[in-house]
């Protein structure tokens, strides 16, 4: 499958997962991610050892993921915002039990039932843990269908490497639009640890310890030690997995920070602004956690101002402000409720800054 194909984002993510060795999918219908379970239901039964199961709820789906991951499989589930809220209990347990899996969130407008249109208003939920307890997850935010393919495939490796769930977070547009993609088969990284911890059947003398997949540590001292161990992994993720893309930041007076679909709109705005003679640049976080604070802080040193653009009322902007530590003003522009910002709106925001306004 090396040639270019025109694929819808959701279907491309599903095929990418299969090419990365995902053989188990448990999910529940919710718009705008339905093409992922639908595609999996078509493909997985035709692959040896593959299994698609439509769960009775999001809650059940994530717990099926727990069981499958605990048995050592590459496994995925997908949903959209309200469904991801339901999965939070299970995600917390998966983190606690140190199980690898991939979760896709095609974010829609909220709160509540919200809308079915694209949004980025789950940023807090995704980057602050989401469920109960002290934890983090790698959050990968593609801004094209091709990048969604690549990040989904890498997500399986990263999940296995750190024994932690990885969240692929697209706004609804990433899932719904069609773009040409290359779909490589992707063999797992060769440096991944063997899953000797998986529950696959044990007896005395079989060569490993009895597997106990568990997140309960009733002794506070033991739980603290366990959480410290989790945070050692998160420190390693912060050191090794932070990703971002910078464009024209070297000489930029005004730096736009945006991710996902919003970053593409911001890129168009940045180019138009350059044509007008306004030196604009773009920093696009690819990992929302760990957040690329260092490059944003570095770029802020020579910029006049930063504009964060999101499809929310301003969530990532808090991380941008933390990153620059007051070195330059950080402004925010956002549309929410499922409304996608326009190139024109972003240009106007930067023009206003350039005129000394805001």
């Amino acid at each position: 499958m090396g040639q270019k194909m025109l694929m819808k984002g959701n279907e491309a993510i599903a095929e990418a997962a299969i090419q990365a060795g995902c053989r188990f999918f448990f999910g529940y219908p919710i718009t705008p991610q339905n093409q992922i379970p639908e595609y999996m239901s078509k493909r997985l039964p035709k692959i040896e050892g593959g299994c698609f199961l439509q769960a009775e709820s999001e809650v059940a789906a994530i717990n099926m993921v727990y069981g499958a991951a605990g048995a050592g499989a590459r496994v995925m589930t997908s949903s959209s915002s309200p469904g991801i809220s339901l999965k939070q209990e299970g995600i917390s347990y998966i983190v606690g039990a140190e199980l690898p899996c991939v979760i896709v969130n095609m974010v829609r407008g909220g709160p509540g039932l919200g809308s079915i249109q694209p949004a980025q208003s789950d940023y807090f939920q995704s980057t602050r843990g989401g469920g109960h307890g002290d934890y983090r997850m790698l959050v990968l935010a593609p801004s094209s269908v091709q990048e969604a393919v690549e990040l989904t495939q890498e997500a399986f490796d990263l999940a296995d490497l750190y024994r932690n769930p990885v969240l692929v977070m697209g706004d609804g547009l990433i899932g719904q639009m069609m773009e040409p993609v290359e779909m490589p088969e992707r063999k797992p990284r060769t440096d991944l640890p063997e899953k000797t911890w998986a529950a696959t059947g044990w007896e005395p003398g079989c060569g490993r310890d009895r597997a106990i997949i568990n997140s309960l540590y009733i002794d506070p001292a033991v739980l603290e030690k366990h959480v410290n161990h989790l945070y050692e992994k998160y420190a390693a993720m912060e050191a090794n997995e932070c990703r971002w893309q910078e464009e024209m930041t070297e000489d930029a007076d005004y730096i736009i920070v945006a991710y996902g679909t919003t970053a593409r709109i911001a890129r168009s705005a940045m180019r138009k602004l350059r044509e007008e003679g306004i030196r604009a640049g773009l920093i696009r976080p690819i990992t929302l956690w760990p957040f690329p604070a260092a490059p944003i802080a570095a770029a802020a040193k020579h910029a006049k101002a930063i504009l964060t653009v999101e499809m929310s009322m301003g969530q990532m902007v808090e991380d941008v402000r933390l990153a620059v530590e007051g070195a330059v003003p950080v402004h925010f522009f956002g549309r929410t409720g499922g409304i996608v910002p326009t190139v024109r709106e972003i240009i106007t925001q930067v023009e206003t800054l350039a005129k000394g306004g805001h």
Partner: protein, 245 residues
């Protein structure tokens, strides 16, 4: 000297944390014996619940997973689908299975998921200190039904075995008790039969075991066994509710 009785190797040496007179220990023993006798230790995966049996992973001497409250059938489903050659069982109480996990157990049953469920019904939430369960009897006093369970206010006890037996998916459903030796031996037969059902690939099997909770019922162990016999069995009739040959 000939050994006539010994601890099954399917239980670890970890001392059980259960209260004096609690029948969880007997039920653990029956499940462990069944696994041992069927020679399936090396491919059995147990799923522990949230509730009194939350530490079951410390006791059953096989690979174990600890599930979130009520989710054991979903966890078992994921585990079994990955390795269909494994024998997967859940061990759940009545709060876990019949209340917060009602959806998971119902859908695992109707899918005919090829797993075995040991459902321990003691008509109360034990671990959290004796609150009303979905299985609490009408009039029964608990810490959240201090005037006795009033069906007008909070409905009637749920008969899980009969309910699930109406579905097409399950292959074997039975309700047993452990209040005396005769019934303990019957319980053992049903538990073994449930595992055999899974081994034969027939589909979902569940054994509901009526169990005593002297601590939270506020009784001596002897009184609690008598209370189980006299009050629980009329509400929860024993017997095989469904069997597919």
């Amino acid at each position: 000297m000939a050994v006539v009785y010994e601890k099954t190797k399917l239980l670890t040496d970890k001392p059980l944390h259960y209260c004096p007179g609690c029948t969880h220990g007997i039920i653990h023993r029956l499940v462990a014996e069944a696994i041992d006798e069927l020679g399936i230790q090396n491919r059995t995966i147990g799923i522990a619940p949230v509730g009194c049996a939350v530490f079951a992973y410390d006791y059953f001497n096989c690979d174990m997973m600890e599930a979130a409250h009520g989710r054991a059938p979903a966890v078992a489903t994921g585990c079994k689908r990955v390795n269909p050659g494994n024998i997967v069982f859940t061990y759940q109480g009545d709060g876990d299975l019949a209340s917060i996990g009602a959806a998971e157990i119902t859908h695992a049953a109707t899918r005919g998921e090829n797993i075995t469920v040991i459902f321990v019904n003691n008509a109360i939430y034990g671990m959290t200190g004796g609150q009303m369960a979905p299985t609490t009897l009408p009039g029964q006093v608990t810490t959240t039904s201090p005037y006795g369970r009033d069906p007008k206010l909070c409905g009637y006890p749920i008969r899980i075995s009969e309910m699930l037996a109406t579905l097409d998916g399950p292959a074997f459903i039975s309700r047993v008790s452990v209040h005396d030796v005769k019934h303990i031996l019957d319980a053992k037969k049903s538990i073994k039969k449930a595992f055999e059902t899974q081994l034969a690939g027939k589909g979902f099997s569940l054994v509901e075991v009526l169990s005593a909770c002297p601590t939270n019922w506020g009784m001596t162990p002897q009184e609690s066994l008598k209370w189980l016999e006299q009050n629980m069995i009329p509400q929860y009739p024993l017997g095989i509710k469904k069997e597919v040959e």
